[in-house]
């Protein structure tokens, strides 16, 4: 008999409840149970960073956390980064402007990670940003567009 639990989370401001097998990762729960497929599973062993989401504001690997551990927590996924549907957050807009994505698969994890990092480190320079995203693998861009976007976003957020 599968071990299941009822899990209630607030995702992108909305309360969601579902019953899951306890072995289900938070990432699979978001993607396949709640159908928020913006979060991507790239390695399922915690290295690539594509599945990064914010749990109570902290960037964490959703493949390394069980869905049941998120019970009662507040979660932000890439779908919830912009203030309103049809708009982009300053960081998302900077990714667009600086060609910070190609295939788009690592992008959700880059955005969630950098959203948290720039919030906590608004004066970050290039070296800090490169270290911050060293836990997020991108095979397409060579990282430069991502770094440029983060630097630009940090600047615009400070000015804004």
């Amino acid at each position: 008999m599968a071990d299941t639990r009822e899990v209630t989370v607030t995702v992108n401001g909305e309360s969601r409840t579902a019953t899951v097998e306890t072995r289900t990762s938070l990432g699979d729960f978001l993607r396949h149970t709640l159908r928020l497929t913006g979060t991507h599973m790239g390695c399922e062993h915690g290295v690539c960073g594509a599945c990064t989401v914010l749990v109570d504001g902290d960037a964490v690997r959703s493949c390394l956390m069980l869905a049941v551990q998120a019970n009662g927590r507040e979660i932000t996924t890439v779908e919830g980064l912009a203030a309103a549907v049809g708009t982009l957050s300053p960081l998302q807009a900077a990714f667009w402007k600086h060609h910070g994505l190609q295939c788009g698969f690592c992008t959700p994890g880059m955005l969630t990670s950098l959203t948290a990092f720039l919030r906590d480190n608004p004066n970050a320079g290039e070296k800090d940003i490169r270290e911050a995203i060293s836990g997020n693998i991108c095979r397409c861009t060579g990282y430069q567009g991502i770094v440029d976007a983060a630097l630009d976003a940090a600047k615009s957020m400070q000015e804004g």
Binding site: R23, T37, L88, L101, Q102, C103, F105, C140, G142
Partner: protein
């Protein structure tokens, strides 16, 4: 006034969707009644299968069925197709979709479980018992052809898959009249693709409706459609293959895999959609990679460093099966004269089987290997003659006035390789300037005074891009005025939507936002080829341009009749045809489209075909040859052997740039892939053929923290081979990178006499060379 898009840094049309989490990758899709599959994969590199017991797995709650080769039945019991048959293939081994009685690499699909969820399917896989008779495995290409070496396949007599040779000019004469002959031998290792999205597919079979549909994370959906239909013995029209958003390709997704047969078959057997998503461990074991090539070359040259000839032998690792014909060894030989006018070449390749995952192109395919080989020989000449490496290159480049320059080598399709345009020396000078090559000696001396070791390395490359036959485009204006643009070319992040929208928008006088772009769906466009070999810009670019031109001409001809004006007085702006000087006289493209697709009983205007639509397959009349020169500046920590790339400069020429921002992204991403090859990425098998690097802690992909900022400058020498003057840009960053980095490391360690004969250059290997050099210096 015509709005210019071509050449502008237009922000990508793809991005808002992807940035907000609304992409649609294959694992994002779900279907009514969908089941999930997981594969049992061979745990031995080489073994006979005595028996498979699936009974325990089949009994697990939530499991629908378990399939082995035998369970697929005699109708589906044959080996996979050879996609690229070639006469040089002496032993034609393709695999069975599920192993029949012998497994030849770890990761080969042996059985598959269909269950309610992926997790249950994996539970059941663990319950399948396979009785193997383990056979000796061949892993190392250097002894695979020796007498008594284990055989990769039990029913063959040799591990030689085939031999090829690139031969032109009078090689004996070149070596006879040379002042010097130098030799170098080196191993090249390239890893896997590691697209951040793994492979994966969904099959659905609706025999009374749409037929068989396969959604798959792939670069060449049309190739898969043909291969799958051929394998099934069914018409292509009843097989639809769709590549939705694809999270990176880099070569290995351009082929046709066992899972792309098995999953649609399971959908057929189960009469329900079936999904399989490769996990990262499967990606390491079962997605094709590139791996080892050993080169042993001799170069004949004059005392001034003018190269007369190049000869030698290559041993190429093929892996266990042949999914891609001989594309990879072929592409290793094609670029052999590199950017240089080398009159004579004679290099042969032995292609050998090993009990490792089958081999396929990875970004650049064999080109990075061929270019690395040529560039290593330039370094060899430079070192032995004491001539600056940049100067040796200057003395050997193909010169602009020699264009078109026929090298003597042949392209994949068998055509002669002809360099169409470019100024290689000017490109080198731009790269050297960007890198402040002139100021390097001073930087190096200052660092040495602090006990730090800096080095600089140069490499130049050519790249045959834009291979045929075509990649067509249809442009159709619909009644709403929106423009539907369809092509076969699949995208894995290259920005095709943006690029094609820019071309169509500029030519047709509409806004790129009004273009509805669809691609990579065999149900929506009759035929396409695939996104490989930096071929899309030089094929879709011209076809999109031509189709848009035809639509424009048709619209203007019809508008001239409707508005009673001369075509010469008409212009299209933002989707509206206006008469110059008569601002009130106008008609929208949508209105013209309605006239050409009228309601019942109405007539299409006389002299016009229906629909405001055109299709073109215009492409390039040959392979446009892109070129580049790269300069790497590195620091080596002799205490640890660590290499840091401090600065990386690229001068690149891919002809006319459609969107320089996208080109820049391709170059930078490609360089970082190449640096990964040079320093980090190593797919290790033990001597039993067990893959050891099967996670991202052990297989080292380049990270932001170690990668340098890449400075890029361009020249735009138009290609004469297509209407836009474009050349491909997707692989030009990767191809020369390893050669530049390795040359820079050697330069940094000149006082230790370090000569590198292997990449990726890991720190342990490098400290070994440093210590040996230091010991020799001390003697």
């Amino acid at each position: 006034m015509v709005v210019r898009y071509l050449g502008a840094e237009v922000q990508r049309m793809e991005d808002p969707r992807l940035l907000t989490g609304h992409g649609r990758y294959v694992d994002d899709m779900t279907m009514e009644g969908m089941l999930h599959a997981a594969f049992l994969r061979a745990s031995h590199a080489h073994a006979k299968i005595r028996a498979i017991d699936t009974s325990r797995a089949a009994q697990l709650p939530g499991v629908h069925r378990v399939f082995t080769h035998a369970d697929l039945g005699p109708k589906y019991g044959h080996r996979m197709n050879q996609l690229y048959p070639a006469p040089v293939i002496e032993v034609n081994k393709t695999q069975y979709p599920l192993s029949k009685d012998e497994v030849c690499y770890v990761g080969e699909a042996v059985a598959v479980v269909v269950a309610d969820s992926r997790a249950i399917a994996e539970d059941a896989v663990a319950l399948i018992d396979v009785d193997y008779e383990v056979l000796p495995a061949v892993v190392n290409i250097m002894n695979a052809l020796e007498d008594g070496a284990p055989l990769a396949h039990a029913d063959t007599s040799s591990n030689l898959m085939g031999r090829m040779r690139s031969q032109f000019g009078d090689i004996d004469d070149a070596f006879a009249k040379a002042d010097h002959v130098f030799q170098a031998a080196f191993m090249q290792h390239r890893g896997g693709c590691h697209s951040m999205e793994t492979r994966g597919c969904i099959g659905r079979d609706d025999p009374w409706g749409d037929g068989l549909t396969l959604w798959t994370s792939a670069q060449s959906p049309y190739l898969i459609r043909r291969a799958l239909a051929t394998w099934l013995g069914e018409p292509e029209e009843r097989v639809r293959v769709v590549a939705p958003d694809v999270g990176g390709g880099f070569g290995p997704k351009a082929g046709f895999y066992p899972e792309e047969i098995v999953i649609p078959l399971l959908a057929r057997f189960m009469e329900r959609p079936v999904k399989w998503i490769e996990d990262r461990r499967e990606h390491f074991m079962s997605t094709t990679t590139q791996r080892d090539q050993h080169w042993n070359l001799e170069v004949a040259c004059t005392s001034e460093g003018k190269i007369l000839g190049l000869r030698g032998k290559v041993t190429h690792e093929n892996g266990a099966y042949i999914p891609y014909g001989i594309l990879l060894p072929n592409s290793s030989l094609t670029p052999l004269p590199g950017a240089y006018a080398i009159p004579a070449v004679d290099v042969g390749v032995d292609i050998v089987f090993t009990n490792t995952v089958p081999n396929s192109p990875v970004r650049g395919a064999g080109r990075p290997c061929g270019i690395y080989a040529v560039e290593r020989m330039i370094q060899t000449v430079s070192r032995n003659l004491g001539i600056d490496p940049a100067e040796v290159r200057r003395r050997n480049y193909v010169r602009p006035e020699q264009m078109p320059y026929e090298t003597g080598a042949t392209l994949r399709g068998g055509a002669k390789c002809v360099y169409d345009s470019g100024d290689y020396e000017a490109l080198l000078e731009k790269a050297l300037e960007l890198a402040d090559y002139a100021g390097f000696k001073e930087r190096q001396a200052a660092a040495r005074a602090e006990g730090r070791y800096l080095g600089i390395g140069v490499s130049s490359c050519i790249e045959d891009t834009g291979m045929g036959p075509y990649e067509g485009t249809t442009v159709r204006v619909e009644a709403s005025g929106k423009v539907a643009v369809r092509t076969g070319a699949a995208s894995q992040g290259q920005g095709h939507h943006t690029m094609i929208a820019m071309i169509v928008a500029e030519n047709l006088g509409v806004s790129p936002e009004d273009i509805l772009f669809e691609s990579a769906d065999t149900g929506k466009f009759p035929h396409g080829v695939g996104t490989i070999g930096s071929r899309v810009a030089a094929n879709v670019g011209p076809s999109a341009f031509d189709a848009a031109t035809k639509v424009r001409e048709k619209a203007l001809r019809l508008a001239a009749e409707v508005l009673e004006a001369s075509e010469a007085d008409l212009d299209i702006e933002d989707g509206v045809v206006r008469v110059n000087g008569a601002p009130d006289l106008s008609i929208t493209l949508g209105e013209l489209a309605i006239k050409l697709s009228p309601a019942s009983a109405m007539r299409v205007p006389a002299g016009f075909d229906p629909l405001l639509e055109a299709t073109s397959y215009d492409g390039s009349s040959g392979s446009p040859i892109a070129c580049g020169s790269n300069v790497a500046e590195v620091e080596v920590d002799v205490g640890t052997g660590e290499v840091r790339v401090l600065r990386y400069s690229v001068a690149h020429d891919c002809g006319v740039m459609i969107n320089p921002m996208i080109v820049h992204g391709q170059i930078v991403g490609g360089v970082v892939h190449g640096i990964g090859n040079a320093l980090f990425e190593r797919m290790i098998y033990d001597d039993q053929g067990q893959p050891l690097t099967t996670n991202y802690g052990e297989y080292l992909l380049p990270l932001a923290s170690e990668m340098p900022r890449v400075d890029v400058t361009h020249m735009e020498t138009p290609s004469p081979l297509n209407s836009l003057g474009v050349k491909g840009a997707g692989e030009g960053g990767t191809i020369p990178a390893a050669a530049a980095v390795v040359a820079a490391i050697e330069n940094a360690l000149t006082e230790f006499g370090v000569e590198i004969d292997y990449y990726p250059v890991d720190p342990q290997y490098l400290t070994g060379l440093i210590d040996r050099g230091a010991a020799q210096a001390a003697e």
